[in-house]
C-alpha cells in the first residue's frame, strides 16, 4: 500500500509555497519565452522552460514541481497560449517550493512573478484533508476568516467529486469569513493582497490534568 505521506500531515498552508495539497495559479501575460524556477530554501531545485504562443485564454498547463530530475536538470519546453493559466503543484514528497518566473527578451531576463508576492489575478488553492478549524493570518497577524473542515456523517461523496469552493483573500481577511469544507474539497482563493498569508489548523490546547487535592489538618471540613 503506497500513500502520499506528506499529504496526511499537512496542517499549515503558507500562500507563497507550493507543496502537498496546494496549487498556485499564474496567468501568462503575453506571448514569449519564460523560465520557471522552483526553489527550496532559496536554492534552485528545478527549471521549466515555457513558451507562450498565440493568445488562448482557455489554455492551461500543469507543472509538477516535484517531478523526478530531468536530463541536465532542465525539463522539456512547455507550450501554452498567451494569457493562458499555469497551475503549479506538487505531486508528492516533503518539500515545499517557492516559484519564480523570468521572462526572456533581447534585452535580457526579467523576473515577472514570484510566489512570495502574489497579486491580483493569481490564485492560491488548498485542499485540506485534516479535519478541524483553520485560522487565516496576514503577515502573521490574525485576520477575520475561519475555514472549518468537517467530514460528513452521512454517506460520503468521494473527494474528487466535491465541487471546489471559491473565496477571496484580502489584507483584511477572508471573504466570506466563514468557509466550510469537506476533507479533500478544494478552496480556490482569489488573491487581492500583495502580502503573504497563512492558513493554519488550530490545535486544541491540551486539557490540564486535574490536580488531586490532598486534605491537610487545616483544610476546611
Amino acid at each position: 500500500m503506497q500513500k502520499n505521506s506528506q499529504a496526511f500531515k499537512r496542517e499549515h498552508f503558507p500562500s507563497h509555497l507550493v507543496g502537498a495539497l496546494t496549487y498556485i495559479m499564474w496567468n501568462v501575460p503575453a506571448a514569449g519565452d519564460y523560465l520557471i524556477s522552483a526553489w527550496v530554501s532559496d536554492k534552485p531545485f528545478r527549471e521549466f522552460p515555457l513558451k507562450a504562443g498565440q493568445e488562448d485564454l482557455n489554455s492551461f498547463a500543469h507543472i509538477d514541481v516535484a517531478t523526478p530530475k530531468f536530463t541536465r536538470n532542465v525539463a522539456p519546453e512547455i507550450q501554452i497560449g498567451a494569457k493562458g493559466t499555469v497551475i503549479f503543484y506538487c505531486s508528492g514528497g516533503f518539500r515545499e517550493f517557492r516559484i519564480t518566473v523570468t521572462q526572456k527578451s533581447d534585452g535580457g531576463e526579467k523576473e515577472i512573478f514570484n510566489s512570495e508576492h502574489l497579486s491580483r489575478g493569481d490564485h492560491f488553492v488548498m485542499v485540506p484533508i485534516v479535519s478541524g478549524k483553520y485560522d487565516f493570518t496576514v503577515d502573521s497577524k490574525k485576520q477575520p476568516g475561519t475555514i472549518t473542515v468537517r467530514s460528513s456523517s452521512e454517506k460520503k461523496t468521494p473527494a474528487s467529486q466535491l465541487e471546489p469552493k471559491q473565496a477571496t483573500a484580502t489584507d483584511g481577511g477572508l471573504s466570506p469569513d466563514k468557509i466550510e469544507l469537506r476533507p479533500g474539497q478544494p478552496l480556490v482563493l482569489e488573491i487581492q493582497t500583495s502580502k503573504k498569508f497563512e492558513i493554519t489548523l488550530l490545535r486544541d490546547k491540551p486539557t490540564p490534568k486535574r490536580i488531586r487535592t490532598i486534605p491537610t489538618p487545616n483544610s476546611p471540613a
Binding site: 499529504a7 494569457k83 474528487s160 469537506r182 476533507p183 479533500g184 478544494p186
Partner: protein, 329 residues
C-alpha cells in the same frame, strides 16, 4: 422359490443409508466470478446429509433428513486510487474574461489489492423425499458412467482420511467388478436451499464488516480515517464494488444460486448416487474349500454364479431373493 434370500431390516437400511450419506457429501469450488472490473470472488461450498427417520410404504420415505451447507467465500478487491483534485474551476482573468481550468490530480493512495475470506458454516435445510431400491446387474464394460463417476468422487472427496477408510477402499475394489448391486434410486425430493436467508445474510454482513476493519492495517489510525473520509465510507465503497447495496439477503442468495449448488447436488443424487451400491454380490462368487486352505491350482475354489435377483419392500424389511447356478467350466 429363490435359492437364497437376503433380508434387511429398517434399522439395517438406515445404517446403510447413513454410510451412503457420507459418500454423497461433496464439495464444489467455483471459478473466480467477476463482479464488475475490480472485484472477484470464489466460493467453495461443501455439503453433507444427516439422515433422519425412514418410512417404508411403498417407497422408502425420508423424514427429518438435513442437508447441511458450509460456504467459504474468498474475495479479491482492487481498491481504487484515492485522489484529490481533477475538478474544473472557472474564474475571471485579469484580462477581463472568464476561463476554466482543471485542477491537477494528486494521488493520496495508489490503490491496492485487498483480499479477505468469509466463512459461513452449518446452514441446514430439511429435505423431504422418497427413494426406491433397484437390483442392477452391473457390467463395467457396459457402463459409460464409471470413469467420470470415480474421477468426480476422488476429486471431490471430503477428505483423504475418509477416502482411505477400509469401507471406502473396499467399496471401490468391488465397484469395478461385474456383479449384482442393490442401489438407491432417488424418487422425489423437496427442499429449500436456504431456509432462512436473513440469517445467512446477517452472518455474511458481520463477517464482511470484520474483514473491512482489517483494511489498511499498515496505516496509522489517523491516516486510515483520513483515507476513509476521502474515499467515502469504505464499507459503502466495497459494498458498491460488490454491488451489494442494502439488500444482503438477495445478494447472498444470488451468489449461491450462481454456483449451481442445487443443480450440482441434484445431479449427484439423480445421476451419480445410482453408482453407489448398498450391497453387492459378485457375478461369479468364489469360496475356498476351507479357511485354512488357500486357493491353488490343485484345490480350486467352490464357484457359483448368480443367475437372477429380485427385490421386495415390505413395511418392516427389504428382501432380496437370489437364484444361483453352477458356472459353466
Amino acid at each position: 422359490m429363490a435359492d437364497f434370500t437376503l433380508a434387511l431390516s429398517r434399522n439395517g437400511i438406515k445404517d446403510i443409508l447413513v454410510t451412503l450419506a457420507d459418500r454423497a457429501a461433496g464439495k464444489v469450488n467455483s471459478d473466480p466470478v467477476p463482479l464488475g472490473t475490480s472485484v472477484s470472488y470464489t466460493v467453495s461450498t461443501s455439503w453433507r446429509f444427516e439422515v433422519g427417520d425412514l418410512f417404508f410404504a411403498p417407497m422408502i420415505e425420508l423424514n427429518e433428513t438435513d442437508f447441511v451447507l458450509d460456504f467459504h467465500f474468498k474475495f479479491r478487491i482492487e481498491v481504487p486510487k484515492i485522489e484529490v483534485g481533477g475538478q474544473t474551476v472557472c474564474f475571471a482573468k485579469p484580462f477581463g474574461e472568464v476561463s476554466c481550468v482543471t485542477l491537477p490530480v494528486i494521488t493520496l493512495y495508489d490503490g491496492g489489492v485487498f483480499e479477505f475470506d468469509i466463512g459461513i458454516d452449518g446452514f441446514r435445510s430439511e429435505i423431504e423425499g422418497a427413494i426406491d431400491f433397484q437390483i442392477v446387474h452391473f457390467k463395467p464394460e457396459e457402463s459409460d458412467q464409471l470413469d467420470t463417476t470415480i474421477r468426480f468422487f476422488w476429486e471431490n472427496r471430503v477428505s483423504n482420511a475418509f477416502a482411505e477408510t477400509p469401507e471406502v477402499s473396499d467399496f471401490f475394489a468391488m465397484a469395478m467388478k461385474q456383479g449384482w448391486e442393490l442401489r438407491i434410486i432417488p424418487g422425489w425430493m423437496d427442499f429449500d436451499l436456504i431456509d432462512e436467508p436473513g440469517t445467512i445474510a446477517g452472518q455474511f454482513e458481520r463477517e464482511l464488516s470484520n474483514a473491512i476493519t482489517t483494511w489498511g492495517a499498515d496505516l496509522s489510525a489517523s491516516d486510515r480515517n483520513a483515507l476513509l473520509d476521502l474515499s467515502g465510507d469504505l464499507t459503502t465503497l466495497i459494498e458498491g464494488l460488490l454491488d451489494i447495496h442494502d439488500d444482503h439477503d438477495t445478494w447472498i442468495l444470488a451468489r449461491i444460486s450462481e454456483l449451481g449448488i442445487v443443480r450440482e447436488v441434484a445431479k449427484i443424487l439423480s445421476d451419480r448416487l445410482g453408482f453407489f451400491y448398498l450391497v453387492k454380490l459378485l457375478h461369479e462368487q468364489k469360496f475356498p474349500i476351507s479357511e485354512d486352505i488357500p486357493f491353488s491350482e490343485d484345490i480350486p475354489p467352490v464357484r457359483f454364479e448368480i443367475s437372477n435377483a429380485a427385490l421386495t419392500i415390505e413395511p418392516e424389511e427389504l428382501r432380496i431373493e437370489v437364484d444361483i447356478k453352477a458356472p459353466d467350466l
